[in-house]
Symmetry: C2
Subunit: 143 residues, 2 copies
DNA sequence: ATCTAAATAGAAATGATTTGCGTTTATAAT
DNA sequence: ATTATAAACGCAAATCATTTCTATTTAGAT
């Protein structure tokens, strides 16, 4: 007997975002949610080609951009290459610890952005709009 | 009478790095040092074309990579596009506040990376190799 | 002045991402 | 259930930053 896998139904999410629930979009979300590591658009494309006889890379890009814009998924900056990778976002404010070996992504909560915002307000007299905070390293298994 | 501009002589720096002091390299360093804002490889190329009748974009890329590898300049990640921008690094450990309007880059010193490293060591049991910490916003003049 | 490895220009290749456009499909109204 | 319509999509081609290749030039040492 196989272990039950409770898969999230993403149709309501897509509906709430005003996006149509297409099989490919649902498959993308399920894949990204199930994956511990970050994936490139091409990674996703290759995996989906197993399930969909015809699927284009532009579809992947379009959907990734759409979902990233709606804060459903998050970009990860690759240390060496200038490609974007994506993975599922689980909480609103968090930061990523990215394993450079196995590509696994783990969140951490410590965040000094409040401190930094204070410094920027007081010294630089500027306004913070966004920040990129990504820690690259080796995870437990890869150390 | 014009104000004196004390320009740094970058020849010793290049020599100490084992790089030849070519006119183009020197011009790149002077430009990046003088510039408050970050520049794209193409920005640099366009500016240098005024002074050098023949200069190729590959030269810019090669030198930027070389200098970045030697920690003389630093990459800045552009929020929207996936291009790399560069500017001169002044201290060993610092972070960037990048104005999304005028592209000026200012350093800030508050850094909680120590805290985060502790969390990653204790909870994730991983090893930090590098981090990207860049705050995007609007500077004093652009607010 | 000469030599040699490093640096360069210019053209071409690469590779990720985007665009254009005609076709298909999800969804809401009938 | 059928239909209408805007959103999604596939495919091909375009775009654009970056890299590679190769022959030539040049900085710096002898």
């Amino acid at each position: 007997m196989e272990a039950m896998e409770a898969k999230t139904d993403y149709q309501p999410l897509l509906k709430s975002l005003g996006l149509k629930s297409t099989p490919k979009r649902l498959a993308m979300l399920e894949m990204l949610d199930g994956e511990q590591a970050y994936l490139s658009p091409e990674d996703i494309w290759k995996k989906l080609k197993r399930r969909f006889k015809s699927i284009g890379l532009p579809t992947i890009y379009r959907n990734l951009e759409e979902l990233e814009g709606k804060n459903v998924i998050t970009k990860v900056i690759h240390p060496n290459r200038q490609l974007y990778y994506y993975f599922c976002r689980h909480s609103s404010h968090h930061h990523h610890f990215v394993c450079i070996s196995c590509k696994k992504v783990q969140d951490f909560t410590s965040c000094a952005v409040a401190d930094i915002e204070r410094e920027i307000r007081d010294k630089i007299k500027g306004k913070v709009v966004s920040h990129i905070f990504q820690v690259n390293g080796l995870c437990r298994e890869c150390v």
